[in-house]
Symmetry: C2
Subunit: 254 residues, 2 copies
Amino acid sequence: MRNICLVIEYEGTNYYGWQIQKRYKTIQGELLKAIKKVTGEDVILYGSGRTDRGVHAIGQVANFNTISRIPVSRFPYALNAHLPRDITVKEAREVPLEFNAQFCAKSKVYRYTILNSTTPRALFRNFAYLVRSKLSIKNIRNGARYLIGKKDFRSFAKDAKEKINTTRAVKRISIKKDSEVITIEIQGDGFLYAMVRGIVGTLLQVGLGKIKPKDVKKILDSKNRRLAGPNVPAKGLCLISVQYEKIKGYPHHN
Amino acid sequence: MRNICLVIEYEGTNYYGWQIQKRYKTIQGELLKAIKKVTGEDVILYGSGRTDRGVHAIGQVANFNTISRIPVSRFPYALNAHLPRDITVKEAREVPLEFNAQFCAKSKVYRYTILNSTTPRALFRNFAYLVRSKLSIKNIRNGARYLIGKKDFRSFAKDAKEKINTTRAVKRISIKKDSEVITIEIQGDGFLYAMVRGIVGTLLQVGLGKIKPKDVKKILDSKNRRLAGPNVPAKGLCLISVQYEKIKGYPHHN
């Protein structure tokens, strides 16, 4: 038995998210079909986490166990031959059996892309959220500072039940502007459902001047989802990378 | 009568190139349909130049004359409302009647994108040419130096008839590498048919070690298309910008 770890890139536009569903095309579903064709096996595929409908990834990580004898270096080629062109396996490595892409994940980096322009751009139509009003990067940066650290992010989560633990650690928020393209990159030890889109939606209101930067702290403390800004659309969101504890043999660490 | 100049971005994947055709969808054809819907007029739309099937643009320039009274600032919104999402008008300006997007063009910048990786990437599937063998950036840069200046580019053109003038001035070739993505940007006063794709195809052979950098000069001097490398695929090519002589009122200059 071998444990195979994949790094996957996909455009989420034409899929109903990561998680397999009976009636709809999903990323996990397409991968499982390709793995079945290559190995003949019905495996369990553990993703680092779900991505919603329309969300993209350049560094999703997933693993599965197999008894097939295909050399691990052949997996990307073999799987890509059976995958649609908008899903690609970039890398495959054999990892220790105790590695699990979901439970061993230490942190993740998400990037949200905003096109701050009065007119749309064809090449960004599925990858950025168009905001026509001028955004203040300075205000966004000042607001984002209140979100760094281990905090209760209940105000930014969707459908968080009262009993669940909504404390997460946000390690870094980097805001970059390159001409009319603004990217907000967030690294955290874990994210609640729709948390990144809630945070970006709130920071957008700060950038528009509708929420004061210092009020981000008030929103956080309120633990009331209704005080935060509306969620931004899925298409601007991309899972950039997943970080893991040092596990011998795991690709990203020694 | 007003002369309206547009800056257009498009993904060429699903079009048969720029130039209008009876049976096939083209960029110019879609723009003319949108202009007709907005102004009611059958105009002549001058593009800075044609782009081939599958080639993209982020800064194509085109102009047309109109007697409509729509404020020029409304044109992007009005046209985008009637255009498919993979073609967008980014800018519209009124320009002097003597401005013509094709004949007044002084130079153009094209960018070719190569994915130099052993595995494909979903997000680059329509925008980069996958080259699995390792490329030497140093060799590509050394080979490219022979192409700078006013020279006869007959060896790099497709279907160039004997009588036509194949001398063009290449002002700049910049080669950049960002991890596994290599871009080759070429600025010239004009380009022969498939010239950029012939040049990049040749530089690829240089990068692969199949042609020596100094042999690029021999290929240039031979004026023989068969000595140059094969054309690279259209999908990696993008028209970045068009430069114009200073014309009062033209958007890109004072």
